[in-house]
Amino acid sequence: MLELRNVVKTYAKNVRAVDDVSLTLPAGVVGLIGHNGAGKTSLMQMIATLTRPTSGSILFDGVDIVAKPESIRARLGFLPQDFGVYPNLTALEFLQYFAALKGVRDPARLRRLLEMVNLHEHADRQAAGFSGGMRRRLGIAQALLNDPDILIVDEPTAGLDPEERLRFRHLLSEIGFRKLVIVSTHIVSDIENMAGHLAIMNKGKLVGYATPDSLVREARGQVWSATVAPDHYEALRAEVRVLQAQRNEHGIHLRIAHPSSPCGDALPAEPTLEEALMTQRYAVQEPAA
């Protein structure tokens, strides 16, 4: 469906935001993971035709979208991270505007989408009075206006309450049954139950592309659970990578990433996806030179 071939994006002063990324993405939900500055946003902006790669090509259903951006735009839904709304427009007017730009002529679809994102009761309210979560939901509705074949969403659940977050994850999962959904996020729980694959970026390079299960499998035997006395905690923290620390009545309960048992009473633990990512070398941000 979407194919990236040796995509490079270089900004001023020779900063390589995306460095020779090649990837083929079929339908399904793909989680794009990486630190701040890893190149996720630049990569998504190139796929969304906002900016052009310095070199390389991006093919959508075999068509080079760098040369013919309009070939993907009609089939694209895009929700950037810092998406806001026009405060002077009502929710419905806002969707009508984007529907006009996207060539969507079905007024009933606008109402359906507002219902889908639970804003139907606020359709005629000006967005100036919307909370952050409501604005986000309006953004989601906007991204789905043209029933896109490829949906690109950046930090989609930021600002949503737990119920809305669950609802939106479910929605993305459903869309991913038939279409390509690229989700960039720092919140691993957002994608662990819906992403078929994770693309992991570090310093502009694609350093991993795997299923969540395989990442967890690889991390088995590297995550440990232990309870230590508070006096010993500082010394242990200097030697091993602590993933989680929680004080309880017995001392401090730790989850630790380490290739072998980090201390006497440590027990091997089943890693979560987040811990699996933290244990992998590609998810660890190297210190700046």
């Binding site: 900004y11 902006q45 969304a48 035709t49 906002l50 900016t51 309009e70 735009r73 009609a74 694209l76 895009f78 929700l79 950037p80 991270q81 810092d82 998406f83 806001g84 709304v85 026009y86 002077n88 427009l89 007017e93 009508q96 505007y97 984007f98 529907a99 006009a100 730009l101 996207k102 060539g103 002529r105 953004g139 906007q142 991204a143």
Partner: protein
């Protein structure tokens, strides 16, 4: 793009602009302008005076006069009101989504242009309604709606087309985004006013230059000249001899040739859309800075600011002093230092103006003040909106003293900035011409209060900038009017005008404080 989609784009553009506070300010300014320009003959003033004879206030006279003078305002203020939609897109983050839609650059920009045309057309409609109301009060003869519509249409349509097209061009081309485009347009606007003068100087004959007479003044002058058979007439606030009979203009002033000329001019007015389409940044993050809403790292002003960056160090002691100074004064010093440190070219200008203020002869002080206040107004228009534009308004409101101290501090900083530009001039005037010094002393706080109030209410620097630049332009064109000599650069301010601007300043200050408290209470 199909017609319903285009209609929706147009409707949205009009809705977004009409719901701005800046529009309300413009409407009020238009109403005030209308009443000011149609002088009351009973008080010795007339809109149109030919050889000391006043022209009777028929529909033709009022339509011609108001279209000519209103066009001056709309050509300048209309630009600042119409532009800025793409900055809004960038600031809100909607720009990235717009860029990813299938709409073509040409269709997108055409939609934006149509929206701006409809919006400016709406404002002109309000202007027309105000004129009709005034006609009912002061007019002579019946209200002939067709005469008004024909005159407004032919005189102002090319102007609206051109203003909207320039607004789209300045929004679409990254180097002109932001204040740079605002200032360049003002210079361009003042320069292009030479076109009607050149076009009508050659005599009453048709000139190809009339195709570029977007303001419509050239054809209006030609129409009046051909009707009254003289070049000696005054448009706008002229004094007349009441002993002479009133002159009546013919009902229809527009020849077929003039109509076609205006049609050609309307087409020429759309020319800026071509480079706009070609140069459109389409929200490419490489071409525009997403949040600042401006690009042009290689613009002359950016290069100058970069070259003069070391001058920003001169502000370090001011920052240090602001930290040591308690209360509003400390805050004001911090704002002053921030304003100048972000514009090192302004520091160089301030140094130059301070030196020049000490050494130039007294006769040149007016011109020097004009330049200093123009630069000051451009810088000050930003002060009250900067926090919001950079999303730090909540933080500054949460600082000790809250929004009230911020408001007072910004106002004081604006006055200090004016002092940094004009201190020697002020001292010299106070010593040699106290009334002129008093005009500067009362005019600056009044303008600063207006900038704070308009910036706070409209959330954009443009509402103040548009009125300020228009006022400056009019003041340079009418140098004998004391009321327009707000900071004393024309040297005609009198006790009455100084007292008026003092009262105006106090009222604006009170309105700003009330607004600040009202906003705090609402939040």
């Amino acid at each position: 793009m199909n017609a319903p989609a285009l209609k929706m784009l147009l409707l949205t553009e009009v809705r977004l602009r009409m719901r701005r506070t800046g529009t309300l300010v413009a409407v009020l300014a238009l109403i005030v302008l209308t009443w000011l320009m149609v002088g009351d003959p009973a008080k010795g003033q007339a809109l149109l005076v030919v050889d000391k004879m006043r022209v009777a206030y028929t529909s033709t006279c009022l339509a011609l006069g108001s279209a000519g003078l209103g066009g001056l305002f709309m050509g300048l203020a209309g630009f600042y009101l119409a532009r800025g939609r793409m900055n809004e897109d960038m600031r809100s983050g909607a720009g990235a989504v717009l860029a990813a839609t299938p709409v073509s650059n040409a269709a997108f920009l055409f939609g934006r242009w149509l929206g701006a045309v409809a919006y400016l057309g709406g404002l002109i409609g309000i202007f027309l309604l105000t004129m009709l109301a005034l006609h009912a009060l002061r007019g002579e003869g019946p209200i002939q709606l067709l005469v008004y519509l024909q005159t407004f249409g032919l005189a102002l349509l090319p102007l609206v087309f051109f203003t909207a097209a320039m607004a789209v061009l300045c929004d679409a081309w990254a180097p002109l985004a932001g204040k740079r485009g605002d200032v360049l347009y003002f210079i361009f606007y003042v320069t292009q006013m030479a076109v009607p003068i050149a076009a009508t100087a050659e005599g009453a004959g048709w000139s190809p230059l009339l195709l570029f007479d977007f303001s419509g003044l050239g054809v209006i002058v030609m129409a009046v000249r051909s009707a009254v058979h003289t070049s000696s007439f005054v448009l706008g606030g002229g004094e007349f001899d009441p002993a002479l009979p009133a002159l009546v203009l013919p009902q229809w002033m527009w020849s077929m040739q003039m109509g076609f000329t205006r049609l050609g001019c309307a087409l020429a007015a759309m020319l800026p859309l071509l480079p706009a389409t070609w140069l459109f940044h389409r929200f490419d993050p490489e071409k525009v800075k997403a949040r600042a809403g401006g690009g042009g790292r290689w613009s002359p002003l950016s290069l100058l600011n970069r070259a003069l960056r070391p001058l920003a160090r001169l502000m370090h002691p001011v920052f240090a002093l602001s930290a040591r100074t308690p209360g509003v004064l400390g805050y004001a010093l911090a704002v002053l230092a921030l304003t100048l440190a972000s514009n090192p070219a302004a520091i160089a200008a301030a140094l130059g103006l301070l030196i020049a203020g000490c050494v130039v002869p007294g006769a040149a002080l007016g011109g020097l003040t004009l330049g200093a206040i123009a630069l000051w107004g451009i810088l000050v228009s930003d002060i009250s909106v900067r926090d919001r534009q950079h999303d730090v308004d909540v933080m500054s409101a949460a600082a000790p003293g809250g929004g009230g101290r911020r408001y007072a501090g910004q106002l004081l900083a604006s006055c200090l900035l004016a002092l940094a530009f004009t201190a020697p001039v002020l001292l010299r005037w106070l010593a040699s011409d106290p009334l002129r010094g008093a005009a500067l002393l009362t005019g600056v706080p009044a303008l600063a209060a207006a900038a704070s109030l308009l910036g706070g209410a409209s959330r954009t620097a443009r509402a103040f900038l548009a009125l300020f630049l228009f006022g400056m332009y009019v003041a340079t064109q009418v140098p004998k009017a004391p009321a327009l000599d707000v900071v004393g650069f024309n040297g005609v301010a009198n006790a009455q005008s100084v007292a008026t601007q003092l009262i105006a300043g106090v009222l604006l200050l009170a309105a700003g404080l009330w607004r600040e408290r009202w906003t705090a209470a609402r939040n």
